[in-house]
Amino acid sequence: MTHVTPGSESGNEHTVSTRVMELVVSAGFIAVSILVMWDSRRIGASWASDGPEAGYFPFYIALIMFLSSAVTFVSNIVTRAPDRSNFVQRSQLALVLRVLIPTAVFVVLIGYLGIYLSSALFIAFFMWWLGKYPVYKVIPVAVAVPLITFMMFEIWFLVPLPKGPIEAALGY
């Protein structure tokens, strides 16, 4: 579903049909099950002298997954009444991507900046970009939430969270 440009303003709300998504997802299941069966065969999925081998259980698990997904896949191809309804409306997808993309950036940032600074940036960006809040409302929330988190985790419960250069400069 990534081939749709987010935020496009055209009146066409169609993206992909539910049927196509059903096919894609069940094909995904089939691919995973083949991968699991292949790897289980590699380490041994049969019966050794001392009992079942390590791949025995996962192999049959994957076999059931393969068969049940194959039924879903085939029934979506041969059905007489295919579900042509829209999987997600274009405007809805745009909204979902507007959350998903900043969140992905946030997750990457945590590794570099630590969780506190990146949370502050993430909340500020989200409120400013999606909520259209003025700066004087954005700053207090964006500062308070990481600060409360810091107090709670690092000081009260003594659970260390990922920290970055700023915290290091402050001596944590």
Partner: protein, 506 residues
């Protein structure tokens, strides 16, 4: 009467004032989690789990289970006032709860919902108190084959009772088992499905999956609906509460039916969501006002709430006695027990009496406390819901990220959580069920090792699974559950009636 004496001992555990404090903190946090989109019983408890590692197991489980009760109560608030079910099991509550709020009877609807929850939980905890010791005692004689048969029954029940396509239930469940197999095989020490990656050695922790599937996935789904919440305001005062309570006794049969449906579906892992729909459907069929259901009928709020709460509570019964959780939240609590070094199962009732009975006693008290808390704080939580989504959403995402990180102090887990979030969103939209996936991920290792132990002791002879009456009955029941969709189809054709259409609402 042994159970009764043990229960009194359990209340003695609660005499520690700190435990009462933890209970109230848990309930308030739980209601908050229940009303916020993206945070629910399962992932809320998963996120808060690491914070309890420094507490004693008894205090910790009291707080975490109180969060669960709070979340069960909280789901009703959003359903009634905003027509947004905060939890899947409160979907049925919106049918009559929101129309009541639109007619200005929000206080009445909420009181009905809370009282229903309370009654359902009370019946379920009575069942728990008297049935749990018996089942635990019985299960002490279980061998690996019997345990595997119980696992089999659990998973086959998902197929038989699920509202989704049985093939999707199976696919989702087997994905859970496959994810559980990733990492080091506990029997032979071989590496499975790691493909040479060091990060995959640890395997997939179900807590990460729960936070992603239920947390991030839910946020994405909520986002689709747009950013605006438009809700009704509510005030509850003593007068409304008393007037509502005067009307409720005539629905005693509805409450009883709801509680029994809930207990049954909670113990067999149908869960709270189907229980609430089934109870609503039954109430609609048997009520004299059945035709007016959906337009703001008190009974239509009462029925699903009793069942949901009864199911939520009785889901703890198989978790404590057999080590098999009946719902994703019970699975997270089970994860907690394992981390504190307590092995759930029949021996828990012998070795950790204080812990078990302290927990059961806390359910009694927790529900009374929960009822008081929700009846007095509704306006406060309704106000929290008025905070715009564009402020709440990033904060919830940050909380989920922290929760995912603290499980293993691994940065990689935050990315895994995000991937599970996208999966959760797509699966929800295509109605692949998430509960069997999560339970398979939790129980995968245990189910596999009991299967392999049984196979070892029988030298690979599958007939061990119908060797004695007990294991044979369990396996037979499992097969009935597994093929229930086919059996139901056959029965319907036999009666020459169109197939049931009960499963179109969710």
């Amino acid at each position: 009467m042994d159970a009764f004496i043990s229960l009194i001992d359990g209340f003695a555990v609660l005499s520690d004032p700190m435990n009462i404090v933890y209970m109230f903190v848990g309930i308030i946090l739980g209601v908050l989690i229940g009303v916020l989109p993206g945070l629910g019983g399962a992932n809320g408890v998963a996120i808060l789990l690491p914070l309890t590692f420094s507490m004693s197991p008894t205090s910790a489980i009291i707080m975490l289970s109180s969060i669960y009760w709070g979340a069960l109560f909280g789901g009703a608030i959003t359903s009634v006032l905003f027509n947004i079910p905060g939890e899947p099991w409160s979907v049925a509550t919106t049918f009559d709860g929101h129309p009541m709020a639109q007619q200005g009877r929000a206080g009445e609807a909420l009181t009905t919902a809370f009282t229903g929850s309370f009654i359902g939980a009370f019946v379920a905890v009575l069942v728990l108190t008297f049935l749990a010791p018996i089942i635990a005692n019985f299960a002490l004689r279980f061998g690996p084959a019997e345990f595997f048969a119980v696992y089999l029954l659990t998973f086959c029940s998902f197929v038989g009772m699920g509202r989704e396509s049985p093939f999707k239930v199976l696919a989702a469940m087997m994905l859970g088992f496959s994810l559980a197999a990733v990492g080091i095989d506990s029997v032979t020490g071989q590496l499975r499905l790691t493909f040479g990656s060091v990060e995959l050695l640890r395997g997939f922790d179900f807590l990460i999956a729960v936070i992603g599937l239920f947390g991030i996935g839910e946020i994405l789904l909520t986002m689709e609906e747009g950013l605006a919440f438009r809700g009704k305001s509510a005030s509850i005062n003593m007068k409304i509460v008393l007037e509502t309570w005067k009307k409720l006794p005539k629905f005693w049969l509805t409450a009883l039916r709801g509680s029994l449906v809930g207990c049954w579906l909670g113990i067999t892992p149908g869960g709270a969501t189907p229980a609430s729909f089934m109870s609503y459907g039954l109430a609609k069929r048997f009520s004299r006002n059945g035709a007016r259901f959906g337009k703001g009928e008190m009974e239509g709020v009462f029925a699903p709430e009793t069942a949901a709460h009864a199911a939520g509570t009785s889901a703890l019964l198989p978790m404590l006695t057999l080590g098999i959780p009946g719902s994703p939240t019970a699975a997270v609590l089970l994860g907690g027990l394992l981390i504190w070094g307590l092995q759930p199962g029949p021996l828990l009732f012998v070795e950790q009496k204080d812990f078990v009975w302290g927990l059961i006693a806390s359910i009694y008290l927790g529900n009374v406390a929960g009822l008081i808390v929700v009846l007095t704080t509704v306006p406060l939580f309704a106000a929290i819901l008025r905070i715009p989504f564009s402020i709440i959403a990033p904060i919830i995402i940050v909380i989920c990220a922290i929760g995912a990180y603290t499980v293993h102090n691994a940065l990689m887990d935050i990315s895994v959580m995000l991937i599970f979030g996208v999966l959760g969103y797509v699966f929800k939209k295509l109605s692949y069920p998430l509960a069997p996936l999560v339970l398979a991920l939790v129980l995968g290792d245990m189910a596999e090792s009991s299967f392999r132990q049984a196979m070892l002791s029988s030298q690979g002879d599958l007939s061990i699974f119908w060797d004695n009456a007990l294991v044979g009955t369990l396996v037979a029941l499992s097969m009935i559950m597994l093929f229930w969709p086919l059996i139901a189809l056959g029965l319907n054709a036999f009666r020459n009636r169109p197939p049931g259409r009960a499963s179109e609402t969710l």
